[in-house]
């Protein structure tokens, strides 16, 4: 079959809304009916990014002019239009879209009718952009700051310029109490205490605000607040599976969570963090602290399917660090971005050799108790194949792929150099703490065996007084115990010899006596094995004797069991003897020995990601930080900076921040400080309904006021506990049961977070999905109101706060209200609010004074803090409860 027009080789399913055919027999409309079909099925191969055979269908001006056959559409003549022939696969043309399902007949008919009607389309329209010109793919160049006034910060200079251009008038600075609460919630996730608020309100020094910023950035709770943000982006998930079976992520992955929190607190440069997450095992192979970072990869573990596992790894490495959607290029070339299907699999090749393992923590070898989940390169020889149409049943085995960076960004990937790992990095047996644990275990075995013998001797002394069988049995017991003791002692000796042999073998250069020590260690180990087998044979013989004396009913089975045990022991003896005959030095290592070489692939990838010349990495990171301070992104499509992603609302500001971030040494705290000390950040958030700027910029794209944001579930829960003074501030450690979020008081970041294992309260407030959460939703729904109103924790904290503020009960209603507003909302009550609250307190107290007239609700949860007996105090707790539900409490204003 001839394929006369390479131009129409198109493969492409895709997104974008499909227009439905018009109902009536109106003329076919190019914009409504035809263009969406082209966009959906054709332009990925015949557009700006790729124009196969020279054909482009991304804009009308190309229809009649491009393609090897000189125009694919002949107006009014569908029979001569190559486009139609190709779509039908007629006239010898390869059927398009190639390697994809044919277009539905109705769509082909529509195109045919459109051509027959004259192929009416605009003379020209906006063509898709050239990827080389795409803003996010161009190098970050630090833009000129549009303001030379040194008193204005850089952020403000950019923002004010746009205010002026649009004619919006920014709000004034937020009241100081609002500002302080905002700053606390943004930087540490908890509100200020009344004392901290008081101190700030009374601090007239010009640098009062800056000093608070510095203090909060140095506060360890900052890492807990921002750790949770990055855990969203990096897809933190505790392990999950079916019952106790691990299917996803890793047990003890909390070590990675602690690394995130600690790294942020230590202000680790972001570039270093990225490198450690992708390749700490290569760049810091002996640094257990850094190795925790590779939880980023270990989290993708999926028991059942390696392809799914690696697909997710590629997808989320791309989305999290680069804002690139490699996942769209798994089955075909990317529809919009210059990422070929081959690029997708070449990216996979960087990860192909890696696997996950648990390293002992503090020498503890019990993987159920603890362990460090980390990655390592297990097999350097596994090939990577492109899957034809993404089908894992069709690997293209003729063309194994090397690890290569996307060609559009890096035409030629620099050579990947393998990494020789130090011995202790691939063999935990060399670690002192592991040896110590093994020695202690072996010592304990010897002690236990010794104790058993001693017990026999004592029993024997007694038993010897008795006649006959008893003493014979005791003698047998004793010889078993003695044989076991001998075996335990030999094992202990062998352990020491294996350690000596290890020391000699792994010395650099290996010690001269390494071989002889190895032979000696192997011999002792084999002797110990024989001794153990001997002991078990003795035990089996004894059991055989005893079986004869069992009651008839049990005898037969006991004899058979004993015989089985004896057979096994004899077999073990034979095997041990055979082993003992060997003279080699193959003693068993203390722990698993992993490969001593790593491919270096992930280091190569990581170094490209954090290369200051990479146009994406800093922009993506800066956007994440900005979003979580302002509640709205500069680039709305958080994980897609590609050509169909959103354009930045303020490209110069984004680029300046990105350039500054890199120049500062990828310094997060510097970036936070820049943002929160800007005037823009400090603007008021309360907008009157008749504010004139609302008409110009209702969505606040120009940042003429601060965005009020709903706090995340974590902020709401932690703040309630903190306001009550009951927050348990211990940091780090194993994840806590998700359901315990109502009954314990640790910070929310420490509760189990995995699909099916979310804390219900946190999840009600649009909690992060552990599968993917580059930006949290911010909804307001009644189930949130129910959680906040009816949760045990809200009721308990309200009672605790009320009791604390109530004191001896002499305060006036107005005083109590003042205290409660300040404590819970960090502000004073307005006079109308005060009046409403006073009336409430009076009514509620009267109501509660006559409980027999009231209806008790008995279906909800228990509480650990009982309601007060005093109607006045209980009414006050009721008021505090209302304030904990107030918009101003759950909102970061």
């Amino acid at each position: 079959m001839r394929t006369p027009n390479a131009a129409l080789r198109c493969l492409a399913p895709c997104l974008v809304l499909v227009a439905l055919p018009s109902f009536a027999a109106e003329p076919v409309d190019y914009a409504i009916d035809i263009k969406p079909i082209f966009e959906r099925h054709c332009v990925s191969c015949h557009g700006a990014v790729r124009s196969q055979g020279g054909l482009r269908l991304d804009a009308s001006q190309f229809l009649r002019t491009t393609g090897d056959s000189g125009g694919s559409v002949v107006p009014g003549d569908s029979a001569s239009s190559v486009l139609l022939a190709a779509l039908k696969g007629e006239g010898g043309y390869t059927r398009m879209p190639q390697d994809a399902d044919p277009l539905p007949d109705a769509q082909i008919a529509l195109i045919e009718r459109w051509i027959a009607e004259g192929a009416v389309a605009p003379e020209s329209e906006k063509a898709d952009a050239d990827p080389a010109e795409h803003w996010a793919f161009r190098p970050v160049a630090r833009p000129t700051v549009p303001f030379s006034d040194e008193s204005a910060g850089v952020i403000d200079a950019f923002v004010m310029e746009r205010h002026d251009a649009a004619g919006v008038v920014p709000l004034a600075e937020a009241p100081r109490h609002t500002l302080l609460r905002r700053l606390y919630l943004d930087l540490i996730g908890l509100p200020p205490s009344p004392a901290e608020l008081e101190a700030f309100l009374n601090d007239a020094a010009p640098d009062a605000y800056d000093r608070v910023v510095d203090r909060l950035l140095a506060d360890p709770r900052h890492g807990e607040r921002w750790g949770r943000h990055w855990m969203d982006v990096w897809r933190y998930s505790d392990w999950y599976g079916y019952g106790n079976e691990l299917r996803n992520s890793q047990k003890h992955i909390w070590h990675w969570r602690d690394w995130i929190i600690e790294s942020l607190n230590e202000n680790q440069p972001y570039d270093r963090m990225v490198v450690e997450m992708l390749a700490a095992d290569e760049v810091a192979p002996l640094d257990d602290d850094a190795l925790r970072a590779t939880g980023f990869l270990a989290r993708n573990y999926y028991k059942f399917n390696r392809d799914v596992w690696l697909d997710r790894t590629v997808e989320h490495t791309g989305k999290a660090f680069l804002g690139l959607t490699f996942n769209c290029a798994r089955c075909h070339d990317h529809l919009f971005d210059p990422i070929s299907q081959r690029d997708h699999y070449a990216m996979r090749a960087f990860f192909e050799p890696h696997q996950v393992r648990l390293d002992p923590v503090d020498g503890d070898l019990d993987e159920n108790k603890n362990g460090l989940p980390r990655v390592y390169d297990a097999d350097l020889s596994t090939p990577t194949y492109l899957f034809v149409r993404g089908n894992d049943k069709q690997p293209d085995k003729d063309h194994p792929l090397a690890p290569e960076l996307p060609k559009f960004f890096v035409p030629k990937t620099p050579t990947v150099e393998s990494v020789a790992l130090p011995p202790a990095a691939h063999y935990a047996g060399l670690r002192l703490e592991v040896r110590e644990v093994l020695r202690r275990q072996a010592d304990a075995e010897v002690a236990a065996a010794d104790e058993a013998v001693r017990k026999m001797l004592l029993d024997g002394a007694v038993g010897s007084l008795a006649p006959g069988v008893l003493s014979a049995s005791l003698a047998a017991d004793r010889s078993v115990a003695e044989a076991r003791l001998r075996a335990a002692r030999l094992r202990r000796a062998a352990l020491e010899m294996r350690i000596s042999a290890d020391d000699a073998k792994y010395a650099n250069p290996p010690a001269a006596e390494a071989d002889s020590l190895a032979v000696a260690a192997a011999k002792t180990e084999r002797t110990a094995a024989l001794a153990a087998a001997d002991a078990e044979a003795l035990a089996a013989r004894k059991a055989q004797d005893e079986a004869q004396r069992k009651p008839a009913a049990e005898r037969e089975k006991a004899i058979a069991d004993a015989q089985k045990a004896l057979d096994a022991a004899m077999k073990a003896i034979e095997a041990a003897k055979a082993e003992l005959g060997k003279t080699d030095g193959n003693y068993s290592p203390l722990t698993t020995v992993y490969p001593s070489t790593s491919s270096g692939r992930r280091t190569r990838l990581a170094n490209w990601i954090v290369d200051p010349a990479n146009p994406l990495t800093a922009r993506v990171a800066v956007n994440h930080v900005w979003t979580r301070h302002f509640g709205k992104p500069l680039v709305e499509s958080m994980f897609d900076f590609g050509m169909h992603g959103s354009a930045p609302t303020d490209p110069e500001l984004l680029d300046w921040l990105a350039a500054e971030f890199v120049a500062s040494g990828w310094n997060f705290k510097h970036l936070h400080r820049l943002i929160v000390t800007s005037d823009t950040y400090r603007l008021n958030s309360t907008v009157a309904a008749d504010h004139p700027s609302l008409a110009i910029d209702p969505d606040n794209r120009l940042l003429w006021h601060m965005n009020a944001r709903r706090g995340e579930g974590e902020v709401i829960r932690d703040s309630m506990l903190a306001v009550a003074g009951r927050l348990d501030e211990r940091m780090g450690g194993p994840e806590l049961d998700a359901a315990a979020d109502q009954t314990t008081a640790r910070r929310s970041v420490y509760y189990r977070h995995a699909p099916e294992k979310y804390a219900p309260f946190l999840q009600a407030f649009d909690g992060a999905s552990a599968d993917e959460c580059y930006l949290r939703a911010e909804t307001v729904v009644p189930t949130q109101a129910l959680a906040q109103v009816n949760s045990r924790i809200t009721r308990e904290e309200s009672r605790s706060i009320a009791a604390d503020l109530f004191g001896t009960g002499e305060a006036t209603a107005a005083d109590l209200i003042e205290r409660a507003f300040k404590r819970v909302l960090c502000r004073a009550a307005a006079s109308e609010e005060r009046a409403a609250c006073i009336a409430f307190l009076e009514d509620q107290e009267i109501r509660l004074a006559n409980p027999s007239a009231l209806t008790t609700l008995e279906t909800g949860p228990d509480t650990s803090i009982e309601a007060a007996h005093s109607p006045r105090l209980r009414a006050f707790a009721s008021l505090v409860h209302v304030l904990l539900n107030h918009h101003d409490f759950v909102t970061i204003r």
């Binding site: 109902f23 909690g767 909804t779 729904v781 129910l786 009721r795 409403a836 918009h887």
Partner: protein, 491 residues
């Protein structure tokens, strides 16, 4: 615009933020209320609460049997299995089923060489008898005597297929995607997303019974994934005392005490709203008022005191075996009356693959499970019908896959994704109708084959939704995700 108009009356600004903040019970519900009152038709592709096409049904009751109900012992009798019982498929004239390309093309294996999900060659006879029922003469298993009396209201589809031979097919049945592809919005969440509320005091996508377990998709089986958490199914217990998490305040709080708190909160929020135009503030004010009404409305919903003894008997709430499912079906009817859009009722949860997973002892297992569900389902259909609700309520009965014609473990059947049955009733579906068929052995769906998204498309169509208009920008949907309505069964 093509096919539907877009007029937004002046004075109603549709600020993006409002529409985002208020999703679910906020702005979307608000939109729906306006639409319901005939105020306006929303613009463009934003979900609007407005049907794309004339709706036939208002509500859906989606009954899901967890574990894989045998099509061969319920709605798709195959006498050939009795004829060739004990023979291998190769020994029968129907051995061609083993060469069908469906076997390799349609199957995506998750756990290779698993003990289950294998070809079972030795044919296993039918474990129950069948009789023709009603005017339509549709054959129904003797284990389902009550449903048999409703068969003239039902359209049975005998030609479903799916691609997972393990219980990830439960997730797939609801999202349309194989579990290896990940998690996607479920059919109920699309409906919630696409249609507005008919009752502002109740959640619109309700889940009854214990959902599928972690092994098989867990909460993603009633999740909403990228549509956002507000569109996910809300689990309710048929228990007026404890219908949903956080439904009632801690023990000992007085009703009047809490009512006063709600009142003060509203007062304070209204005061704040005088100064502040933040739409989130108004949405919050609204959400608390709705929450307060829900606190009453949901327990009321689950309080069956007003139902007659005759109604209770109809569903079988008094019988130990049928009680649980009967109460769930009765609750579903009460929700239909109150305008809940989508009720997803699970039967057969056992913390794992599901009770219907009849690898062994299929006869005793299925007989008992059928008994637990038969009368409640029939009661539901009859009750809806006599109240005139069946015409606007679509009842769907389904399961993740069928079971093998061959025997497993001497007295069971294995997972069978290649052909199985579902049925629908009411909501503009043909009555007493059989659509599609499997081959003589009940192996492959052979006539009018339907992948599971065709079922989704049918349900959406009856509600007036076109799945192709429910795309979300930036979220790629494959052709197979949309499905095609089963036009043959639409009345």
């Amino acid at each position: 615009m093509s096919g539907f108009s877009s007029s937004v009356p002046s004075g109603l600004s549709r600020r993006h933020f409002l529409s985002r903040v208020g999703m679910g019970f906020g702005a979307l519900a608000f939109d729906a209320m306006l639409a319901r009152d005939g105020h306006y038709v929303s613009a463009g592709s934003l979900p609007s609460g407005i049907a794309h096409i004339a709706p036939k049904a208002k509500s859906v009751i989606w009954l899901f049997m967890i574990g894989g109900t045998s099509h061969l012992e319920t709605f798709d009798p195959k006498p050939a299995l009795n004829e060739f019982a004990g023979k291998t498929i190769e020994e029968t004239p129907h051995k061609g089923v083993l060469e069908a390309s469906y076997l390799s093309e349609n199957l995506r294996v998750v756990v290779p060489n698993d003990a289950n999900g294998q070809m079972r060659s030795t044919l296993y006879p039918l474990q129950v008898g069948f009789k023709k029922h009603g005017q339509s003469g549709i054959e129904v298993s003797d284990w389902l005597p009550h449903i048999a009396t409703c068969v003239d209201d039902i359209a049975v589809v005998r030609s479903m297929w799916t691609t997972d031979n393990n219980h990830g097919a439960q997730l797939q049945f609801h999202t349309g995607r194989h579990s290896l592809d990940g998690n996607f919005p479920t059919v109920g969440s699309w409906i919630h997303y696409g249609l507005g509320s008919l009752n502002d005091n109740l959640p619109q996508f309700v889940v009854l019974g214990t959902p599928i377990a972690d092994c098989c998709g867990g909460h993603n089986g009633h999740g909403s994934n990228y549509l956002g958490p507000e569109h996910a199914g809300v689990r309710l217990n048929v228990d007026a005392r404890d219908p949903l998490p956080f439904a009632s305040p801690p023990k000992g709080v007085f009703r009047e005490e809490q009512a006063a708190e709600f009142e003060l909160l509203s007062r304070l929020h209204r005061l704040a709203a005088e100064e502040d135009s933040d739409p989130a503030l108004k949405a919050r004010l609204n959400s608390y008022e709705l929450a307060f009404r829900m606190q009453t409305a949901i327990p009321d919903l689950m309080n069956f005191a007003g139902e007659t003894a005759e109604t209770h008997d109809l569903y079988g709430t008094g019988d130990k075996e049928t009680k649980t499912f009967a109460e769930q079906c009765l609750a579903a009817r009460r929700m239909v009356e109150r305008g809940v859009r989508f009720m997803q009722i699970f039967h057969g949860s056992n913390g794992g693959a599901g009770a219907w997973d009849g690898h062994s002892n299929l006869q005793t297992g299925h007989a008992s499970l059928c008994r637990q569900t038969d009368q409640p389902i029939a009661g539901l259909l009859k009750d809806l019908k006599r109240r005139g609700l069946l015409d606007e309520t679509l009842v769907v009965w389904g399961t993740e896959f069928g079971r093998t014609p061959g025997a497993q473990n001497s007295n069971g059947r294995d997972h069978h994704p290649f052909g199985f049955s579902v049925w629908m009733a009411g909501g503009g579906i043909k009555r007493g109708f059989v659509h599609g068929a499997t081959d003589e052995l009940g192996f492959h769906a052979s006539e009018d084959r339907h992948y599971i998204t065709d079922l989704h498309a049918t349900v959406l169509h009856q509600l007036g939704l076109d799945p192709r208009k429910l795309d979300v920008t930036g979220r790629k949907r494959l052709e197979i995700d949309y499905g095609e309505p089963m036009h043959a069964i639409i009345a």
